[in-house]
Point group: C2
């Protein structure tokens, strides 16, 4: 008879398992919205103060083709995307740079310029930071912003019958990835992957309409995001495959690379940083109109259902959508 | 004739050189207090919103004797110390864990418990975070808090004639370090190094007095902090060696380890997380009284001078204080 010690590793636990573990340990405070949403939200008079943090490391998140400028842009963009998903306006960011000793001055300059460029492009500023020596490049960003309480777009609130929509085309980042991987190199094709655009404008316009019942960004890929939203909302989704807006970059790449499954990429590949929103049917057209008036759009891709399943309908067959999203510790996109 | 390429490395630039470089690149925004202070500060009605971030990595900041619980405590404590240095009350923190794949579930549990324990001890909460795979343990924390505008304690503002003081004894962390290094192991001796106490209570009491002309925490060591304060304020300091409050832990260790230079440790070793404050002479006793009434203290260690030098006076000889503080990339405490 032996005593068996079962020591679970993070590689078995997965990121979401680990986050559940953390969430069960942490004490609850005066926070209005906490762990499990894109941002934490604190009451601050008539507003919520939004806070979000994201870390990236060379180990899993930084393709070798990413320039230091793009790396700086990226860490700011992905944090601003979380502010966008709550309908917020960014107040500022702090950044921590974990860098190896042999990092060059020019790397640091370009990294900083990229971060500053993304921040100023979206009318915000980097207000402070920290720098430490690490073995591999590891960058952490924290963004904070504000949103009027009545405009806040939570993750929880979608109702059966709501339309589910995205703020732009899907598969842009995936196209960028396969472009790099297969070295068919058209550098413009990889830009959406390496220099994503946080959908702050779309987030703010949607928040102003007060029509959104739930919202999150789809950084982990559409299918993964749908499964996260389903779990939180205790609903289901029926997605119309024909309505998935495939990015022009992915269509271009398909014409150059045979064997590329564009629907697989659009449905499952992460890194697009679009917003995924649910909106009651009767408010949808008005919301879409408001976005169109501002040279942007939302595209309906399906409906929220009572049945707690995620169904993909290709016009002939309905089947369960696979949950193939990227998960750290168990699976690496790069 | 050869073209010489001089590629400077961070190891030559040093942390402060690198921070100057970053600071010169970043655009200025609507921030009231930005890079170069313990926290960034934003106007928020009658208050400032304070934000600070700190990263630690196994490479330089995590001694092998530190338990995962202590690691969690540490990242929260050092961020709260920056809020304390501005007289603020913490609102919350976000944490990012960069962890190797082989990290165990029990490590993650203890890490989280330590972070939660420090946060709740100081009446605040961890409201969110991120987790990514890295080669070595790298943890990033961001704390945010608030302080009434008129109570904010900036780094800039000290005037010749002001008293310069610290909120507690020095050399605690140094004693902890030499205790670990020389394995004379009295585990209580290393606690101040591994589980530091952010001086939030002292910061708030001092802020309430509205007597502080400048303040920072002395995480980098007293001499390094004095040189930073001197540069910002364009003043000098004369420090009385006899008034340096040596920590009881350091005195105890001295009795056990021969050859320990306790003044060298108290003046130069980092990690004490006390506050370093300047206060006009006529307000000093009232401020000290207010702290004493609340079972704490500030100890005068010298005076702000017109002459832009940092002098250490041992009662017989006055000489320039060396600037031997810990600097990342050029020198490692661990």
């Amino acid at each position: 008879m032996f005593l068996q010690l079962i020591v679970k590793k993070l590689s078995e636990l997965g990121e979401r398992g680990a986050i559940r573990l953390i969430s069960n340990i942490l004490s609850r405070g005066d926070v209005a919205v906490g762990i499990g949403d894109d941002c934490a939200a604190f009451e601050f008079g008539e507003e919520y103060l939004l806070v979000t943090t994201d870390m990236i490391s060379q180990k899993t998140h930084i393709p070798k083709e990413m320039t230091p400028f793009q790396l700086g842009w990226f860490i700011v963009a992905i944090n601003l995307s979380d502010i966008a998903a709550k309908g917020g306006a960014p107040l500022g960011l702090v950044l921590s740079f974990g860098l190896p000793k042999e990092t060059t001055e020019s790397f640091l300059k370009e990294l900083t310029k990229g971060a500053d460029s993304c921040a100023t492009t979206f009318d915000t500023t980097i207000v402070g930071g920290d720098m430490k020596e690490t073995d591999i490049v590891t960058i952490c960003g924290t963004a904070f912003g504000v949103v009027k309480k009545e405009k806040f777009m939570p993750r929880i609130g979608s109702r059966p019958g709501d339309i589910i929509a995205v703020t732009g085309t899907l598969g842009k980042a995936g196209a960028g990835y396969y472009n790099l991987k297969n070295k068919t190199l058209d550098s413009d094709l990889s830009k959406p992957l390496l220099e994503p655009t946080p959908k702050l404008k779309e987030g703010k316009l949607l928040a102003r309409q007060k029509c959104v019942t739930s919202c999150m960004d789809i950084s982990d890929g559409l299918s993964s995001s749908l499964y996260q939203l389903q779990e939180l909302n205790n609903v289901g989704f029926e997605i119309d495959l024909d309505n998935i807006p495939i990015s022009p970059e992915l269509i271009q790449l398909q014409s150059e690379q045979s064997g590329l499954d564009i629907y697989d990429i659009a449905l499952h590949f992460g890194g697009d940083y679009e917003l995924l929103v649910t909106i009651p049917t009767h408010k949808f057209e008005k919301a879409k109109g408001a976005l169109k008036k501002n040279d942007t759009d939302i595209i309906a891709i399906g409906e929220v259902t009572i049945k707690k399943e995620i169904i993909i309908n290709d016009g002939r067959v309905k089947k369960t959508l696979e949950n193939k999203g990227y998960e750290h510790f168990t699976n690496h996109a790069f």
